[in-house]
């Protein structure tokens, strides 16, 4: 639990500057399944990267390399938009 600030220590109107917000690990919101990719099938179209609402698709430059599970909420959009079925939803303790 981060230390909480008293009312008189908060910025006017509660604005936040870049980097001030604590990292939010939305990966904890997943309810049992997560995406897994078969990179040998992937054509690197980056549709999953484009659609992911949580920036959970990791790139190396412009190359898809996998998922950032700390941020992935398991919404399955990536698996739905993948044109070559390289992404499948798997049980939490399976796959990579």
């Amino acid at each position: 639990m981060p230390e909480l600030t008293a009312w008189d220590g908060l910025p006017l109107g509660g604005i936040a500057r870049p980097g001030e917000a604590p990292p939010l690990r939305t990966g904890g919101w997943r309810t049992g399944v997560k995406p897994a990719v078969a990179l040998d099938l992937c054509i690197n179209c980056l549709l999953c990267w484009l659609y992911c609402p949580d920036s959970a698709v990791k790139l190396d430059g412009t190359t898809f390399v996998g998922f950032e599970y700390d941020l992935c909420k398991g919404c399955e959009l990536c698996a739905v938009v993948c044109p070559v079925d390289a992404i499948a939803m798997v049980e939490e303790d399976d796959g990579d």
Binding site: L4, T5, A6, W7, D8, L10, P11, L12, G13, G14, I15, A16, R17, P18, A21
Partner: protein, 386 residues
């Protein structure tokens, strides 16, 4: 410093104040009885005598939303409304206060529907009583003008940074012509300070997220920050009103008294009614009655300490509310009762003037002299038992 008095309505006088302040942005939607204010200002813009951006929005909800955007972008912003317009923008008024947007808004007070009505009472202001905005009430057109000139300074004061509503009674002030002394244009301009907000949203070199979601761990603290700001507005008002007084020769206070020294009975009220009560007080004083008036100039923040001092020494206090709270205490009475503390005075509550009904001097006289006066002044029929 002042120019020769002119014959102006409250609406025209406030439009003149807006021209002199020359705000950067005015997003506004017309509604009776506020319309003359924005009509007057629009004609100044059309004639090139005011230089701000007049935004014809599609509703009052949009007017206040646009006002927040422009005020936080770093543009001095003024808007105006009445009644249903204020009701429609109410949710955004709360947000303006929480985002600490120093918007000035002229209000022509008018009854809320229903039944639908266009005349004065204070139910519209009371609807946003707890929104965190400052509310100043004028007694006449001169005061509406003066408070409008004071308002940007108060809204933009670094300890405050909150919206300020300058309230004038619909029709009674907005549409009634009387002599008004305007300050010279350059005096008003000199009275303004450079407009500054904490994090202008268009300053892309220093980005900030504004209007953040606040969970139970921070909502309470951010609300408390607004509370501290509106309390600071009492001191800020005193300082700014003092400076204004030196320029204009008219001195305003959060709580204003008239002939309360040695008074045995005072009336506490808001808005134009204060003027009528003063006349009645003068008459009664000639007859030897020890009576006076307390006008609440700043309804929010409420001048609690000053009022408490008075309640300690005045035996009988009658509170006149131009709004009701069905099933509860009328709002001004509730505030007065809330600062009574250990004071021994007898407090009486009266509701009057709903939907624009006139309050006659004879009725005010009855409040002063007849302890059995019914609690609803001018109501036909005996009030229902409460």
């Amino acid at each position: 410093m002042a120019t020769e008095p002119r014959i102006l309505t409250g609406g025209q006088a406030v439009a003149e104040a807006m021209r002199q302040i020359d705000p950067d942005v005015v997003p506004v939607y017309p509604i009776t009885p506020q319309t003359p204010i924005i009509e007057g200002f629009a004609s100044f813009v059309a004639a090139g005598r005011a230089h701000g951006e007049l935004v014809n929005v599609e509703s009052e909800h949009s007017a206040m939303s646009a006002a927040i955007g422009s005020a936080l972008a770093g543009a001095r912003t003024i808007t105006a409304t009445s009644s249903q317009g204020l009701a429609l923008m109410a949710e955004v008024v709360y947000i303006a206060a929480s985002m600490r947007a120093p918007i000035v808004m002229a209000v022509g007070n008018r009854a809320l529907s229903g039944p639908i009505n266009i005349h004065c009472d204070h139910s519209d202001s009371m609807l946003v009583r707890d929104s965190g905005v400052i509310q100043l009430f004028a007694e006449n057109a001169q005061e509406a003008y003066d408070l409008m000139v004071i308002a940007p300074r108060l809204a933009e004061h670094p300890d405050v940074m909150l919206p300020v509503l300058v309230c004038q009674d619909g029709f009674t002030i907005t549409h009634s012509a009387e002599p008004v002394s305007l300050l010279a244009d350059e005096v008003v301009r000199g009275f303004m300070r450079p407009y500054r907000v904490e994090a202008p949203v268009l300053d892309i070199a220093h980005p900030a997220t504004q209007g953040l979601f606040a969970m139970p761990d921070y909502y309470f603290e951010l609300r408390h920050q607004q509370l501290a700001a509106i309390h600071a507005a009492l001191d800020a008002f005193e300082t700014i009103a003092c400076e204004f007084g030196e320029l204009a020769g008219r001195r305003y206070r959060a709580l204003e008294t008239y002939r309360v020294e040695d008074a045995e009975h005072v009336i506490v009220c808001l808005g134009s009614t204060g003027g009528t009560v003063k006349d009645v007080v003068d008459e009664l004083r000639l007859e030897g009655a020890r009576v006076g008036v307390v006008e609440i100039r700043s309804f929010r923040p409420f001048p609690r300490e000053q009022l408490h001092e008075l309640l300690r020494v005045v035996p009988t206090v009658s509170v006149l509310d131009r709004a009701d709270s069905p099933g509860g205490a009328p709002p001004l009475f509730a505030d007065v009762a809330g600062v009574r503390g250990g004071a021994e005075c007898e407090l009486r509550s009266f509701v009057y003037g709903l939907g624009g009904r006139d309050l006659h001097p004879e009725e005010i006289r009855e409040v002063f002299v007849d302890a059995s006066t019914p609690a609803y002044l001018g109501l036909r029929g005996a009030p229902c038992p409460v």
